[in-house]
Amino acid sequence: MHRPTPGRLVRAAVAVSAATALTAALAGCATDVTRPRVEGSIGPVFANLYVQQQALLGHPGLTPTAVATKPTCHRTTPGSHDKGAGSDWICQVGWTDGTGKHQNGKFELQVRSNGCYQAGGPTKIVGPLMIQTSTDKQVINPVFEFDGCFDTT
C-alpha cells in the first residue's frame, strides 16, 4: 500500500547520512581509555596481587597500603597522547616489598577499548609463571601476568 517512492528514499538516505556524520563528528571528542584511569587501576590491582603472591611464598602480613605502588604509564606510539586502547601501554611501577626495600618494574599492558587490560611484569622481579608455595605446591604466580578492568563511564 505505502510503496516507498524515490523521493522518500532520498529523504531517508539524507537523514541517515546526516545522523552518521553528526555521530562521527561527536566521536572525535571523548576516549574511554586515559592515562589517569590506567594508572588508577594498575596500582591497586598490582598491590593486591603482590600481597597475595607474598602470602603464597610464605610472607603473610603485608598490606596493599604498605606496598604503596606508584605507577607511571604512557603509550609508546608517537602522537597517541597517552590515550586510547592499544597493546603499546607501558607502566613503570614502583613499590615497597616485604623487607622495606624499594622495587621498580616495567609492565607491558594490552589495554582493550572496553576498559580491561592484560599486564605482564618483568620475570626477574615478579617471578616465573608458576611458583612454589611455602607448602610445596605449584600454583599460578598471580603477578606474572594479570587482568584488570576499570570503569569507562
Binding site: 562521527a24 571523548a30 580491561c116 578492568c149 570503569d151 569507562t152 563511564t153
Partner: protein, 294 residues
Amino acid sequence: MTIPATTATAPVPPATIDLRPVGRGRVVTAYRWEITKLAAQARTRATLAVCLVAPFVFVVLLDRQDRLPKDTLYGRWVHASGFATPLMILGFAAQWVFPLLTSLVAGDIFASEDQHGTWKTILTRSHSRTQIFWAKTLAAATFATLVLTVLALSCLAAGVLLVGHQPLESLSGTLLPSGRTAGLVLAAWASALPPLLGFTALGIMLSVLTRSSPMGIVGPIVLGLVMQLYAFLNGADTIRHLLLVTPFDAWHGLLAAHPYYGPLRDGTLVSVGYILICLAVAYTALRRRDITGG
C-alpha cells in the same frame, strides 16, 4: 498437550463451547500456541539440550590441556577455581554465541509463516495482527530468557562440580569469598539479558522485513560480528557505546572489589533503545503489509 485437555473438558459443557469464542482477542492464547509450536520444534529442543550439555564437555576438554585460554578474561584461572569457568564462557559467548542462540528462534518465528504460507491461516482465526505480533515477540523473548538461564546454570554447575568452589580472583586482584561468588556469577550472566533481548528484537525485525528465516537467523550474528570488529579495531568510543555488543561487557563492574554499575546502566539503556526501535519497525512493517498470498 492442548488437544487432549480440550477433549477431556468437552463432555462437561457440550453446547456452550461453540457459542463462546474461546480466547478471542487474547494475546495469552496466541502466546500459548506459539510456545507449544516452539516446544514441538526439534531445533528448539536441540538448542536447549546443547546449552545444557556443552559447558560440561567444554570443561572436560579444557581440563585436559595445559595451555590456558588467557586471551579471554578469567581464562587464566579456569584450573584454579570453578567459578572462573562460567565467567570465561560468558566473555566468549558474547562474541557470537548469544546472537546465534536467540536468533535461532527470533529470526524464524515470523518468517516461518511466510515459508509455510500460513499467514492467511493464522490471521483468519480469531486473532488480530497486533495480537499475533505480541504473542510471537513474547515467545521469542521467553526462549531467549530460557536459553540464557539454562546456559548460566549449566556453566556454573559444570565449573563448580568439575573444578571446585575455590575462592575466585576479583578483577581488582582480591580474592572473593566462595559464598558470595556464585551470586556474583549469576548476576554477571543476568546482566547479559538486556543485550540478548536486543538481539532478539533485531532478529524479529529482520525476520519480518526480509520474510526469510536464513536472513533472520544469520543477520543478527553478522551484525554482532561487525559490531565486535568495530570495537576490536578501536573505533570511536562514542559510537562503541551505542553498539549492542558493548553491554555484554557490563558485568566486569560487578566483579571489581569496589563494584561499579555505570556500564550496566548505560548498557541497559542502549539495549532498551534497540528493543524499542527494532520492535517499532517490525510492528509497523507487519501492520502495513498486504497479506493476500498463501
